[in-house]
């Protein structure tokens, strides 16, 4: 009972503080803008802990955050091995291959308007399909190890990246291209000095979408078969053993890795496209 009451109190107090902060005089400052979501997150975790303990929810249904944290700290070595297998080997290599190939092909088909008109609708169509479904096929082709995960990731990131890059390469307007022509710039000079820089906002949009897709692909592909390590493998086996604290620890790792990956790409974007209106203060 104590736990339920105190979690309700924490909830009320957190909401009240947030309400005051959001409607107070300093609501537009950077600090408050960070503090409010942070407080909200802490409140949710505190209420979760309190309710799980107060209502004595069995750990096999929902473990309290403290148990997850303990499990996380106790199995850092397993989590690290899984992280390397799924993220570094599977997701990252697939991400680099897939995005790289899509970028190169986009630059190539950019020379032919005919191919562009054909590939863009087809690419858009394929990007909307449940490509995760190719996972069982690719696992069959490339074996259980990380190569098949990388292949799934390649299949998932390729078309979103292709479509975005092609759109980006079309982003320059006629005046700019005419200017390059009056400089008597060759195709390659125009490409490198004008069109690729102008394409960067769209390219990074594709790269950012692909970060999430890469992790999803790598994890789901492991549900179809994996060596005895990897985040998807651990999640599916621990769920079978009802070791939910371990599952939540893996999910924490996945969430952290996903956010960090996205954040890193966004940071590079900020450096590369500093001139774009969306990046100015």
């Amino acid at each position: 009972m104590m736990w339920i009451v105190s979690s309700l109190v924490v909830w009320a107090a957190g909401s009240w503080v947030n309400y005051r902060l959001a409607n107070g005089a300093f609501s537009a400052t950077r600090l408050v803008k960070l503090a409010v979501p942070f407080l909200f997150g802490v409140t949710i975790i505190a209420v979760w802990e309190g309710l799980v303990r107060g209502l004595s929810v069995p750990h096999v249904i929902l473990p309290p955050p403290s148990a997850i944290a303990v499990r996380f700290a106790a199995s850092l070595d397993i989590l690290w091995v899984d992280f390397v297998q799924t993220f570094i080997k599977g997701a990252m290599s697939g991400y680099i291959i897939g995005c790289g190939a899509a970028f190169v092909i986009a630059v190539l088909i950019d020379r032919s308007p005919f191919l562009q008109r054909g590939l863009l609708p087809v690419g858009n169509f394929i990007a909307a399909l449940p490509i995760v479904g190719t996972a069982p096929i690719l696992v069959m082709w490339f074996g259980f190890d990380w190569q098949s995960k990388a292949a799934v990731v390649v299949a998932m990131v390729f078309f979103p990246m292709l479509v975005n890059t092609v759109q980006g390469l079309a982003a320059t307007d006629k005046m700019q291209r005419d200017l390059m022509a009056t400089y008597s710039a060759s195709y390659w000079q125009t490409l490198i000095k004008l069109r690729l820089p102008a394409a960067m906002p769209a390219v990074f949009n594709g790269l950012k979408i692909a970060t999430t897709l890469a992790l999803i692909g790598a994890i789901v592909a492991e549900f179809f078969g994996s060596p005895i390590k990897g985040m998807g493998f651990r999640i599916s086996t621990e769920v079978g053993k009802l070791g939910l604290d371990m599952v939540w620890a893996e999910i924490t790792v996945a969430a952290l890795a996903g956010s960090a990956f996205y954040g890193a790409v966004a940071l590079i974007e900020k450096g590369v496209t500093f001139w774009h209106p969306s990046q100015r203060g």
Binding site: N23, S27, R117, I216, F223, V239, L244, E250, Y262
Partner: protein, 292 residues
């Protein structure tokens, strides 16, 4: 529109040709081994014919997949057994119903939350950063857990899959809808203020109509995400029914043609669902005079 028909057809034809070619090269090893064991020497045409007609090829040729698709949909329907367990219509229906239920729940909740976020500053500041951050997280990782946990307290079948679908379609809709509800310019909002319009009137007459293009865009993303959620949700329970289950059993028993036909069925389903939203979008925006 007509201008792009020829290029699209060319690209699609090229893809199909590529597929046939890949089928030859990927299945030829098996064909060669079989021939060597039988002490035969395969000519090229025989080899090609064999690679396109194996029972369990590494890569089934397009016509094999189409045949399997027809056998498990149209032919079954003609025999009046459209809902037997061997029919893809049956499995597709299982997946579709979970997708639709999840989609309706997810988008409904997403729109409600977006309305709250636009009107209450505290909700905006506390929830919005999490909603955006959640898009960078592979949420699908929790799918097996939801299925098994709900199964352990006695809920199974449609609902757990629908919850995963709802969860996946929820956040894109929140983010897109908030953007849409905020899309009216200061001028338009000021005009409504000079009319002495209240929050409700501003919402119904300005914010909601101008959010429609954003809503439909995020509905399409949400629909695709819902379908993926339902398919992945069918994997961990041992996979009895649904398109995801067909893929999993296919991968257990090496039935590549079955996997491919389930995959193509899922693709057709996705295209139909997203296409339907596209049609509704067109009709709605046309009625509202937003698109010429």
């Amino acid at each position: 529109m007509m201008r792009s028909v020829l290029p699209i057809l060319t690209v699609v034809t090229a893809l199909v040709l590529l597929w046939y070619g890949a089928a030859i090269s990927m299945n030829s090893k098996w064909a060669q081994d079989q021939a060597a064991r039988a002490g035969l020497d395969l000519s090229f045409t025989e080899l090609v014919a064999d690679t396109w007609s194996q029972d369990r090829p590494r890569l089934p040729a397009p016509h094999q997949v189409v045949q399997e698709l027809w056998k498990s949909t149209g032919e079954m329907a003609l025999k009046g057994r459209a809902f037997s367990k061997r029919s893809l219509i049956f499995h597709g229906w299982i997946t579709l119903s979970a997708t639709m239920l999840g989609f309706v729940i997810g988008t409904g909740a997403g729109i409600l939350l977006a309305v709250g976020i636009v009107h209450y500053r505290v909700m905006d500041m506390s929830v919005m950063p999490w909603a955006i951050a959640s898009q960078t997280i592979p949420i699908i990782a929790i799918a097996p857990m939801i299925i098994v946990v709900l199964n352990s307290i006695g809920i199974q079948g449609l609902v757990p899959k629908a919850i995963i679908s709802a969860y996946l379609s929820f956040f894109p809709v929140v983010v897109g809808m908030v953007k849409g509800l905020r899309s009216p310019s200061i001028d338009q909002l000021d005009l409504l203020r000079t009319y002495n319009a209240g929050t409700g009137a501003t919402f119904w007459k300005l914010r909601l109509p101008s959010s429609m293009p954003y809503l439909f865009t995020s509905l399409k993303i949400g629909m695709a995400a819902s379908l993926v959620g339902a398919i992945v949700g069918e994997l961990p329970t041992g996979a009895i029914r649904g398109l995801g289950a067909r893929m999993l059993t296919g991968s257990y028993y090496g039935q590549t043609i079955q996997i491919w036909s389930a995959l193509i069925a899922a693709a057709i389903l996705a295209a139909l669902l997203v296409g339907t939203i596209g049609l509704i979008q067109r009709a709605t925006l046309k009625r509202m005079g937003m698109q010429p």
